[in-house]
């Protein structure tokens, strides 16, 4: 079978692109919920803010693990 096309370079970049989808959606949902909650109940904004950051940090950890492991397993 003749070789028609070839991809060169690091597949880690493709892997990280795929890995970033989930955390991207997750972080979006968190801030969307915060905006909606604050629009419905403006007084609650101070109450919910720390939890927004905790949730954001936990979800974002997945994307950042992708950065770290991309380099670890790059070889």
């Amino acid at each position: 079978m003749p070789l028609l096309a070839e991809v060169t370079g690091s597949t880690a970049a493709i892997g990280y692109g795929l890995a970033a989808i989930g955390p991207g959606i997750g972080v979006g949902l968190i801030f969307a919920s915060y905006v909606q909650a604050t629009a419905r109940q403006p007084e609650s904004s101070r109450l919910t803010q720390p939890f927004v950051w905790i949730g954001f940090a936990v979800v974002e950890a997945l994307a950042l693990l992708g950065v770290a492991f991309g380099f670890i397993w790059a070889g």
């Binding site: 720390p50 950051w53 905790i54 954001f56 940090a57 936990v58 974002e60 950890a61 950042l64 693990l65 950065v67 770290a68 380099f71």
Partner: protein
């Protein structure tokens, strides 16, 4: 000039860019810019808070106001809001943690320094271990070892699901918490430094490549400047997140019920 410069530019940026040479050639391979920056940060924080609070006035001076605002912010918005009234006794540690992480992160974007000690996993790892010891010690002292383990490991669930839940709780509380604390801070600083390297060095690479791409290097450098401001946001956010998560773990350890 262009050929000699092109040969010097390490492209693409890699993990090797984070291993700096020792400051004094030949001696002490561990004494790098990173080591120096950590000591500078420690010294700067100690001196700043000693000087600003040496002679406190009823009407605060500008520096005293800055120090009091930082402490007040962490005490009221982090310690008291998250842990409750009891949390004020953790405010000194949380403030120290916040200031140290913030300052060491800031070294990552200050022109001329542009290297954050937190982009080496060792420093976030030690900070995470301290937080881990702190919340476990607080929980054990509050409840006693057996009750603390019961509180943190056994969620209120039907008995038949417990064999599944207990290992998950164990791993998430005692393994993943310090691990993610360390990796989150490290990866943010690492990725931030990498992005700045890509746009700064990329500018030089394009400048040296050909006449058509050379003007585009200006765009690359402008991007580097813009991303430095984005990085400033990330730096403050990560310092805040590290403090908030430590506070929330302490709160979880202090809580009566699961």
């Amino acid at each position: 000039m262009s050929t000699s410069l092109a040969a010097e530019i390490p492209w693409p940026p890699s993990v090797e860019d984070f291993y700096l040479p020792p400051i004094v050639d030949g001696t002490n391979p561990w004494f790098t810019k990173v080591t120096l920056l950590v000591w500078v940060a420690v010294a700067a924080l100690i001196i700043f808070f000693l000087v600003t609070y040496r002679d406190p006035k009823l009407v605060p001076t500008k520096r005293q106001w800055i120090a009091e605002s930082i402490y007040g912010f962490v005490r009221n918005n982090v310690a008291r809001d998250l842990i409750g009234h009891d949390g004020v006794r953790f405010a000194p540690y949380l403030t120290t943690l916040f200031c140290f992480v913030l300052l060491t992160n800031l070294f990552g974007i200050i022109p001329g320094i542009q290297m954050s000690p937190n982009s080496h996993i060792a420093f976030p790892a030690i900070l995470a271990v301290i937080s881990w010891v702190l919340f476990n010690a607080v929980g054990i002292r509050q409840h006693g070892f057996a009750k603390y383990m019961k509180n943190s490991l056994i969620p209120p669930a039907p008995w038949f699901i417990l064999p599944l839940l207990v290992p998950i709780e164990f791993i998430s509380t005692f393994v993943f918490r310090p691990f993610t604390l360390a990796v989150r801070l490290f990866a943010n600083m690492f990725a931030g430094h990498m992005i700045l390297l890509v746009f700064t060095l990329g500018g030089f690479v394009m400048l040296n490549s050909n006449a058509w791409l050379a003007p585009v290097s200006l765009v690359s450098w402008l991007m580097a400047v813009a991303l430095t401001f984005l990085e400033a946001l990330v730096i403050v956010l990560q310092a805040y997140v590290f403090t908030v998560l430590t506070a929330s773990y302490v709160q979880g350890a202090l809580a009566e019920e699961h």
